[in-house]
């Protein structure tokens, strides 16, 4: 009896070790899949055009700064301008999205009013409707208002961001005691003052996460900006990337092409590497409750 028990547990232990090895193998394979293309991107951004034509290499070369200078000063694709434009749009819309979503969520969370339930239901219902389905009207409206080649229609809609709203609402439900609001009122604090000076600081972690997500989403956005912006000095990074794809490929310095792609993703990559822990936590917190 005792012997079969130990052999059973030994067998179970072996099985566990085998499954652990299989699991690690799967994880390493998937990590490799995720990293390999970016590794190739970084390696190739350090190689000269002649070197790149010469063949496949996995090791870094020393042409990084040459490629960087060539890409940065390219005459047809003004990447510094594109990055500046993308940054202005992404930063402004992220600030608007985050602030006004918190404001809206607070309005529904903290006050009792007739249309409270209806307002919440409405925002939830529109949450997943993609912007492509009203792009026709949006485009026509922007033409009528002279808003093509303007950042306004890419920034202002950020005020109404249902997903950010939902995240904020969930967060408030878990961390915001209404007693604080009552106490502030007793002290004679006005409603806006309470929100800006007392509530917002309490939401800091949620605000930070949503600032990042909104920024990234806007930075990566391609469909609407490509529709609205066609002047060279107004273009954003994704439009320039598509332009790069459309250009006559064979005439291109490939080291420069890899550098353009690297520059397009670098800001987000750097932020992610620094803050990945918080970002990953933020993925779940605002979605469905576990």
């Amino acid at each position: 009896m005792a012997t079969t028990n130990t052999s059973d547990s030994r067998k179970a232990k072996l099985m566990m070790q085998i499954s652990q090895i299989v699991v690690y193998a799967i994880l390493i394979f998937l990590s490799f899949m995720c990293l390999f293309s970016f590794y190739m991107l970084i390696v190739n951004s350090t190689r000269s055009n002649a070197d790149l034509q010469g063949g496949f290499r996995l090791v870094f070369s020393d042409q990084f700064f040459v490629n960087l200078k060539n890409a940065w000063t390219d005459a047809s694709i003004d990447i510094p301008r594109g990055m500046f434009n993308s940054f202005v749009i992404a930063a402004s819309s992220a600030v608007l999205s985050t602030y006004f979503s918190a404001l809206t969520a607070y309005g529904i969370h903290a006050y009792r009013f007739k249309l409270k339930k209806a307002a919440f239901t409405f925002i939830m219902a529109i949450m997943v409707i993609p912007n492509q389905v009203y792009a026709v009207g949006f485009y026509q409206m922007c033409i009528k208002l002279g808003w093509t080649n303007s950042f306004v229609p890419l920034i202002l809609p950020g005020i109404a961001a249902p997903v950010v709203f939902f995240y904020m609402k969930q967060y408030m439900e878990s961390v915001l005691p209404m007693e604080i609001v009552d106490a502030a009122r007793v002290d004679g604090s006005g409603e806006f003052y309470t929100f800006n000076r007392i509530i917002l600081p309490m939401l800091k972690p949620a605000l930070a996460v949503q600032l990042i997500f909104s920024f990234v989403q806007s930075w990566n956005n391609y469909f609407l900006p490509a529709l609205l912006l066609d002047k060279a000095e107004m273009k954003t990074v994704p439009i320039m990337i598509a332009q790069l794809r459309a250009a006559d490929y064979s005439k291109f310095d490939m080291g420069k092409v890899y550098m353009f792609i690297l520059l397009a993703i670098l800001p987000v990559l750097v932020v992610y590497i620094c803050l990945s822990k918080y970002i990953i936590k933020g993925v779940t917190a605002g979605s469905v409750k576990g």
Partner: protein, 313 residues
């Protein structure tokens, strides 16, 4: 006295109610201007003939359902474009989404299993989530350069003697679709893994313990405990992935330079819409396509909404 205080507190509530409306007003005003009005305008457009032909502007003339009829009328070769592109979208979505959900489910179970005790979880999660934040158009451009006839993939395959002549990945339906599916998979599986992990961690640990004591093996635990309890989140994940798939644009658009090559086999619905909108300025047809996509998303959103509110109750 009691009556009075009740009355007073009621009037106090009314005076604060105004602030609720003030706080939510910016959202609804913005929504009305930038979404609701354009949405109405889009639907309105779908009933009009309104396009540019060369330098000549045709319309807008009211044509009723003409645009919708045109959309579903076979062309000279007997193909109905919108159905072809809807089919492409579905194929491309399924090819990316099925492995995405299966792998994500598997990884979520690995990560949450206290028997396996996976080390370096933070590292693996960080790596697999990363592509989700990467600019899809740049990722697609990267794939284009890597898989181009003179790119590193072909160079490697030639150098290792796998190929005799470089293979044009962009001339074959299977390889183009395969690349799009692979990219969609890589962009999204980390995100899905993290969502499903949260779902599994939300399940009472006692239930797993009880099943274990009853002698259930891991496979049985998965099918009898984990999966049924995870169902609401899984449904939410699948439906939102479907809505995301319907919007598929950046990856195939950049990879094929808007052409959906070869032979329009990788052209998605939104690329079709984009062509009408940008290239031919045909607002009527673009409007009709938008309305159709809107109806499909509407139905899918209803399912999401119901699964979300069920969660809340």
């Amino acid at each position: 006295m009691k009556q009075l205080s009740a009355h007073k507190s009621k009037s106090k509530g009314v005076s604060y109610a105004k602030w609720g409306y003030i706080f939510i007003a910016p959202f609804f005003i913005t929504y009305a201007i930038f979404t609701l009005f354009p949405q109405m305008l889009t639907i309105y457009n779908s009933f009009f003939e309104n396009y540019r032909s060369g330098l000549k502007q045709v319309g807008p003339n009211f044509v009723g359902l003409e645009n919708y009829i045109t959309l579903f009328t076979p062309d000279k070769n007997g193909t109905i474009d919108i159905l072809k592109y809807a089919g492409n979208t579905v194929v491309l979505w399924i090819g990316g989404a099925i492995p995405q959900i299966v792998i994500a489910l598997l990884l979520a179970i690995f990560f949450t299993s206290y028997r396996l005790k996976i080390r370096g979880q933070q590292f693996f999660k960080t790596v697999i989530y990363m592509p989700n934040l990467i600019m899809a158009s740049a990722f697609s451009m990267l794939f284009y350069t890597l898989f181009s006839p003179v790119g590193p993939v072909n160079q490697a395959l030639l150098e290792w003697g796998v190929l005799e002549a470089s293979f044009d990945f962009f001339a074959h339906k299977v390889s183009v679709r395969g690349m799009i599916m692979l990219m969609n998979f890589l962009l999204w599986f980390g995100n899905t893994t993290i969502l499903l992990m949260a779902g599994i961690m939300g399940i009472e640990q006692d239930l797993f313990d009880a099943a274990q004591i009853d002698g259930a093996n891991s496979v049985k635990v998965f099918f009898k405990v984990t999966l049924p309890l995870l169902m609401p989140i899984l449904v939410y994940t699948i439906i939102t992935a479907m809505i995301g798939g319907l919007q598929m644009f950046d990856v195939p658009q950049v990879l094929t330079n808007g052409g959906g090559t070869p032979n329009r086999t990788s052209m998605t619905l939104i690329m079709f819409l984009n062509n009408y909108l940008k290239t031919s300025k045909n607002y009527g047809m673009a409007g009709a396509i938008s309305v159709i996509i809107f109806i499909i998303t509407g139905i899918l959103s209803l399912v999401v909404y119901r699964s979300l509110t069920k969660q809340d109750n």
